[in-house]
Amino acid sequence: MDTQASDARPVLEGPDIARVLTRIAHEIVERAKGADDVVLLGIPTRGVFLAQRLAAKLEEITERKVPCGSLDITMYRDDLRMHPPRALARTDIPGDGIDGRLVVLVDDVLFSGRTIRAALDALNDIGRPRAVQLAVLVDRGHRELPIRADYVGKNLPTSLRETVKVQLAEEDGRDTVLLGVKQTAQ
C-alpha cells in the first residue's frame, strides 16, 4: 500500500460507495429473506467501518437492529512466518454470538482470498454459523484460493502491477477507491 503511485485515479467516489452499500444491503435482505438472523462481521481495519455502514443501512430497511462486530484475522494468517508479527486488531463478537446465525463477512478489497480463508478459520474457533457469506466493496480478481464473494460492490479487473486502495472517511478522512500502478523498487 505504501507503494501507492501519486497518479492513482479514483474509480469509486463517496456517493458511489454509498449507493453500492445501499444495494448490497438490499441484496442481503433479499437473499436472507428479511435478514433477521444476520450478523455482520467486518475485517479490520476498513471492513469494520463498511460493516457498520451496512448495519445502519440494514436497520433502515428492516427497522430492526442488526448485530455488527469485527473479526481480526492476524493470528490466522498463512503468511505470519514471513513477516515480523503484526499488531493485533480488535475481535468483537456481538453479544448473542454467531451460533446458528447467518454471518456476513465484510471486507474492503477481495484479492487473493487468503484473508477470507483466515477469517473462516477464525470463525471456526468462535462458533458454528448457519451459513457464512462474503460482502466486499471491490473485487479485483487474482484469486489464489477457491473463494468468491456473495455481494460485490464493484468488479474491478486489474493487473498485478496495479494497486487498489480503499479510503474511508472514518480512517482516511474521505471516501474513495483509488486505482494506481505499483512503483517498482529502484
Partner: protein, 325 residues
C-alpha cells in the same frame, strides 16, 4: 537476528505499550469457548525452571498452549541437573532437540542473559525470573493490571502510565519484581516510590529512577497503586528486622492503612501472599486487591510476549540493549 526478553529495562516505551496492547487483545481469547489460537503451531517452547514456581510456570504453560506451541516442561528437580549437569550442557541438549524458545527461571542473577548471549543456543530466551535481578513478564503484567484499572480497558489502548503514582512496599533487596517494576514503570512514565526498612533496600538504590521512603503512612494518600512485596524468608540469611510483628506493624497493609489510600487506588501483590505478614486477609480479600486479576492478566501478557517474539520471521520488539554486538 535473535531477540530475547531478559530485562524490563531493555524495553522501550513503544515496545512496552505494544506488548500491553497486544495483551489486551489476547485477553479476549480467554472469553471464547475455544481458548486457542493457531499462531505458534509447530514451534517448541521449553520451560526451564531451576527454581520453584507455581504461577509463573503455569501461566507460561497456559500461554504457550493457548497459542498452540509444543510445550516441554523441565524442572531441575528430577533432571540431570541434580546429577551435576551444567547450564551449558543442559542448554546444548535442548538446542539439539530443536527448541524455538526457552523460558528460563534460575536462582542465579544473570543466568538468562548468559544463556542468550553465550552462543550455546539459537532459541529466543525469555526470562521468567533470575535470582534477585529481573522478572520482566511480571512487571509487564503489573503495568497491564494498572493500566486496566487506572486508565481503562479500551481507554488505555496505546497509552502508557504517565503521571500514575505507584508505591512498592517491602523486601526490595531480594525482589526481582521490584527491580523490573521500577524499570518498566519509569519507562512508562509512572512515578515510583519504594517503601521499605533501610535494611531491605539494596546498595546503590540512589541511582534507581525512583523515590525512596521509610514511612508507609505518609506515602499511601498519594498513591494510585500500592504493590505489596512478599518478605522472602528463603533468601533471608541475616536479621533484616527485629521481629515479624514489628515488620508487619510498620510495613504491613491492613484495613486501616488501606482506608488512607485514595478511593480509586488499588492494592497489588505479585504473589504468593503471606497473609498476616505484609498484607492482612481483610485487604487481600477486598475488591481493591488485584492479586487474582494479576494472575489472569499474566497469561495474556505472556501470550503477547510469545507472539511478538516468536510469531513472525523476526521479533517485533526492538530491544537491543542486552544484545552484544
Amino acid at each position: 537476528m535473535q531477540r530475547h526478553l531478559i530485562s524490563a529495562a531493555d524495553l522501550t516505551r513503544d515496545d512496552a505499550v505494544l506488548i500491553l496492547d497486544t495483551a489486551e487483545e489476547m485477553s479476549r481469547v480467554a472469553d471464547r469457548p475455544i481458548k486457542k489460537l493457531p499462531t505458534l503451531r509447530g514451534r517448541t517452547v521449553v520451560n526451564l525452571f531451576f527454581e520453584d514456581s507455581t504461577r509463573t510456570r503455569i501461566s507460561f504453560e497456559a500461554a504457550e498452549k493457548r497459542l498452540s506451541a509444543d510445550v516441554i516442561n523441565f524442572s531441575a528437580k528430577g533432571s540431570s541437573v541434580s546429577k551435576g549437569e551444567s547450564l551449558k550442557d543442559t542448554a546444548q541438549t535442548l538446542e539439539a532437540m530443536g527448541v524455538d524458545a526457552v523460558v528460563i527461571r534460575h536462582g542465579a542473577s544473570g543466568a538468562p542473559y548468559r544463556l542468550a548471549n553465550s552462543g550455546w543456543i539459537d532459541a529466543a530466551v525469555i526470562n521468567a525470573g533470575d535470582g534477585t535481578h529481573q522478572h520482566p513478564t511480571q512487571a509487564l503484567l503489573d503495568a497491564f493490571t494498572m493500566r486496566r484499572r487506572l486508565v481503562g480497558r479500551d481507554a488505555g489502548l496505546g497509552h502508557d502510565l504517565a503521571g500514575k503514582r505507584v508505591t512498592i512496599v517491602g523486601d526490595v533487596l531480594h525482589s526481582r519484581v521490584a527491580r523490573s517494576n521500577v524499570d518498566l514503570l519509569h519507562t512508562l512514565g509512572a512515578e515510583v516510590t519504594l517503601v521499605a526498612p533501610p535494611t531491605l533496600l539494596p546498595v546503590g538504590i540512589g541511582t534507581w529512577p525512583c523515590e525512596v521512603s521509610y514511612d508507609l503512612d505518609s506515602t499511601l494518600p498519594k498513591s494510585d497503586a500500592v504493590m505489596m512485596l512478599r518478605v522472602q524468608r528463603e533468601r533471608m540469611n541475616a536479621a533484616f528486622f527485629p521481629t515479624e510483628r514489628e515488620y508487619s506493624r510498620r510495613y504491613g497493609l491492613d484495613g486501616d492503612r488501606m482506608a488512607k489510600m485514595p478511593e480509586h487506588a488499588i492494592v497489588m501483590h505479585p504473589g504468593p501472599m503471606v497473609r498476616g505478614m505484609e498484607i492482612t486477609a481483610q485487604v487481600a480479600d477486598s475488591e481493591r486487591c488485584t492479586a487474582i486479576e494479576q494472575v489472569a492478566n499474566g497469561v495474556s501478557i505472556r501470550m503477547a510476549v510469545l507472539y511478538l517474539l516468536l510469531g513472525g520471521n523476526e521479533p517485533a520488539l526492538t530491544n537491543t540493549r542486552t544484545e552484544e554486538k
